[in-house]
Subunit: 177 residues, 2 copies
Amino acid sequence: MLKALALSNVYRLLEPGPVVLLTTAHGGTFNVMTMSWHMMVEFEPPQVACVVSSANHSFAALRTAGECVIAIPSRALASAVVKIGNSSGRDIDKFALFGLTALPAVRVAAPLVKECFANLECKVTETSLVRKYNLFILEVLKAWIDPRQKSAKTIHHCGYGRFVVDGETIKLKSRMR
Amino acid sequence: MLKALALSNVYRLLEPGPVVLLTTAHGGTFNVMTMSWHMMVEFEPPQVACVVSSANHSFAALRTAGECVIAIPSRALASAVVKIGNSSGRDIDKFALFGLTALPAVRVAAPLVKECFANLECKVTETSLVRKYNLFILEVLKAWIDPRQKSAKTIHHCGYGRFVVDGETIKLKSRMR
């Protein structure tokens, strides 16, 4: 159902700055959080920096397991994305409550999110700035896209529940990768 | 002409992931580069992580001066943004060649870009991951917006000169900052 995406194309999903979900597995349970503070660090193998606050329930899981999945939701999931961001896995099972389907990943114990159009299996590769900034660096080990969600529009968070949705696409002649 | 923006609102400009320009001053000249690999790290004082490749002419200026300006262009500047990304300050004066106006900043020697709708004066605060990842952490000292460019639409880079422009804005009830 899901299709493998070449790792060299992963940056094209994250560089535009969409809101993403981050899933973890910890103590036999799955959790998922909403995240906007991420950036590419290297093209290939793709490396991604992200900030996961130590106030988040996912922090301990990420720190301990050293693995996660970055799942990219389309605009259709905006309402679920906000609910995920406004609740804690300490109290509830967010997959069950918000209608998300956990699928097994190949390289990590954290689950893929079936409803998202892209899923990136990641391992933590750098933790030296975790203590000071909650900043992790991840390497993407395996990437998946859902071929049924072609040209999905992503959402970008502008603060306080305001999101801008992808609009027009323009193509300019460029030698930039 | 430009208006000061409260530092607590800076993350609302960068969190959506727009393509930005980064200006530097070095050896009596200004330079400007195009950058998409950036993320927020802290709300206030606002801190921003970014990747500036050591292959870029701006790298030495940023490393030496420890200062820069992040300027945010609207869709109207997309063509200039690509040209800036496809050329090097080693060879040319990009401000002159691409019709950008350098304005003096208040807290740093790097210039503001008059044509951009927002300008953020920054100092480098963390360099421990520069050698390994070209990753800098900056603190925003002063922020400016151009009141004549209200609701400017930003562009987001998807690779190879393809950009998605801000579309519809949606507002969902949220306790997220």
